[in-house]
């Protein structure tokens, strides 16, 4: 443990100042200071996000795109302002390409139900990877069952990296869509999405990227990346739950049928026929999550004020420290040792089930995720039922890495 320096040298990133922005970090759990290492499941909110949501609720709330009254116009301005904020964050060409959803899961389901049902036939293939979260598996299984197309899975190696030769081999004339995670939630592997997209586009195959685990750790430029669809959730980016984004290239979105019907997605309705609204509203049926969108806009402002590159560098320091310290513990096996990783450390221990480890760590105030992380095929690949997963965010410290390591050693003592 003495190998972990208390301060990363020369980054200029003031993590103590960052921590003061997050009110929840000052609370205790079971009488111990909270060590929150579960940001990959849901990140905490800075005061700026909490205040932005509160301000919207207390001053500006009304339904959007409806009334001529002042509040409706203020709410609409706030909601559409958040959409423009997201557009700049992703460097999309137009706000028409930014669709608000409940989260990544709904965004992927939107593409599966709208694009997938309209485009896919028996004999077609959807190519995914063995690293996917259930949210990027199950929607495609539902489309497969409805259309008769096939789901093809590109395998990973024992370090948790996608085997690119296999991916290229499986990308076939029958492939109609590639759907891949940008970053694996269970293992932290960063997938080579630029290479994946280039290979798919060479065959005129569109690519959906599940960016849920990526946006808080890396700069995403959808134009530079060339992604056809890019999905992410607000709450993994220090924003609220219940709000997420589907970016889609306008040419694709324009041709896609609506997937839910209702208010806001229409221009004109009679009992005979309905004219659908233009993009992006065509895909936003019903009253949207306005306060969530406002909170997401504030979250983007916040992470950009810290600087995504500075955050990523800080988190990478934590990842390296945690990997070295945990890897040195006898009886502990790291699961997922890809060369390029986000700040996620998944591990198992001899003679201590992840569930027991999670309970013992919790008693020490250390919050980690234990279980299959909604990625059961990844667990099956490694022949394990579950892992413990520590994931780091902008507010975590090297001292917290030490507390994690101490708590793991304590668990070993309990199970002697």
């Amino acid at each position: 443990m003495s190998a972990i320096p208390l301060r990363a040298a020369g980054t200029g990133y003031d993590v103590e100042r960052v921590r003061r922005d997050f009110p929840i970090l000052s609370r205790t759990v079971h009488g111990k200071p909270l060590v929150y290492l579960d940001s990959a499941a849901s990140a905490q909110r800075p005061l700026a996000v909490i205040r932005a949501v509160e301000d919207y609720e207390m001053r500006s709330h009304a339904n959007v795109h409806r009334g001529v009254h002042a509040l409706s116009q203020e709410a609409t301005a706030a909601f559409e302002g958040a959409r423009e904020r997201v557009r700049r964050f992703l460097n999309a060409r137009s706000t028409r390409e930014i669709i608000f959803t409940r989260g990544t899961t709904e965004a992927i389901n939107l593409v599966a139900q709208s694009w997938g049902r309209a485009q896919l036939r028996a004999g077609d293939e959807i190519l995914i990877t063995a690293l996917e979260h259930h949210a990027n598996i199950v929607p495609w299984q539902m489309v497969r069952d409805a259309t008769g197309c096939s789901l093809v899975v590109a395998p990973i190696d024992t370090s948790g990296e996608l085997i690119m030769e296999e991916f290229h081999r499986l990308l076939s004339p029958r492939t109609r869509l590639v759907a891949v995670a940008h970053v694996s939630n269970a293992l932290g592997t960063i997938l080579p999405v630029a290479e994946i997209i280039a290979a798919a586009h060479a065959r005129r195959v569109p690519v959906l990227v599940d960016g849920a685990q990526a946006v808080a750790h890396t700069r995403v430029d959808v134009q530079a990346l060339g992604a056809d669809f890019y999905a992410f959730s607000g709450h993994k980016l220090y924003g609220p739950t219940g709000i997420g984004v589907l970016y889609g290239r306008q040419e694709l979105l324009s041709e896609m049928p609506p997937w839910q019907g209702g208010g806001d997605m229409i221009l004109n309705v009679t009992f005979e026929r309905t004219t659908y609204n233009e993009l992006p509203y065509k895909f936003e049926a019903g009253t949207p999550n306005m306060s969530g969108a406002v909170g997401l806009g504030a979250a983007i402002d916040y992470v950009e004020s810290l600087g995504l590159d500075a955050m990523a560098a800080h988190e990478h320091g934590l990842l390296e420290a945690a990997t070295a310290a945990l890897g040195a513990i006898p009886g502990l096996t790291l699961i997922g040792t890809a060369k390029r990783k986000a700040a996620v450390v998944s591990f198992v221990m001899d003679h201590i089930h992840p569930h027991d480890l999670g309970t013992i760590l919790d008693a020490e105030g250390v919050a980690v995720r234990t279980g299959h992380h909604c990625a059961q095929p990844v667990m099956d690949f490694f022949l394990i039922p579950a892992t413990a997963r520590a994931s780091f965010g902008c507010y975590n410290t090297l001292a917290e890495v030490q507390q994690l390591v101490a708590a793991v050693r304590h668990a070993q003592e309990v199970f002697g």
């Binding site: 201590i352 992840p354 199970f415």
Partner: protein, 157 residues
């Protein structure tokens, strides 16, 4: 919430060295239990003499609480008939879920599971083996803690 109340010596001992571990072949009754949330799996196999459990084994993989609970259960139910097992499950269930339950001296070593009630997320770990035993005595098959299966709800049976 005291960790040492959960991981008592009896629990750690039965986790390290589970009793009645393995499989009876042939068996008169079998059932599989599965908790998909944490991946715990266990298989129970029983030999019956009329209505009485003459022998019982379990095998599978799970956390310390689920392993120790299954081990303790196999010791406790051997030689008991269906009605007695059902009655015992009722008392174990109360022990696991009712924070105000008085000490039940007659439970013997099973009382070591009382710490579980301070950890609501772990109650299913301890009760999985009992639900599986119910299934085995019923008609066999597979039960899941998350299948919306009536027999697995955490109501007092």
């Amino acid at each position: 919430m005291e960790l040492k109340d959960l991981y008592r010596d009896v629990i750690l001992d039965h986790n390290r060295q589970p009793r009645n571990f393995g499989r009876l072949d042939p068996a008169d009754a079998e059932a599989d239990g599965h908790n998909p949330l944490c991946g715990d799996r266990l298989t129970l196999s029983l030999r019956l003499a009329g209505d009485t459990i003459a022998d019982i084994r379990f095998e599978g993989k799970g956390c310390a609480i689920s392993t120790a609970s299954a081990s303790l259960m196999t010791e406790a139910v051997k030689g008991r008939d269906r009605a007695a097992v059902h009655e015992l499950f009722g008392r174990v269930h109360a022990l696991l879920t009712q924070t105000q339950a008085p000490a039940d001296e007659s439970l013997g070593k099973l009382a070591a599971l009382s710490g579980v009630r301070e950890f609501p997320s772990r109650v299913k770990c301890a009760s999985l083996c009992w639900h599986t035993l119910n299934a085995a005595l019923d008609q066999g098959g597979t039960i899941s803690t998350e299948a919306g299966n009536e027999s697995t709800s955490e109501e007092v049976p």
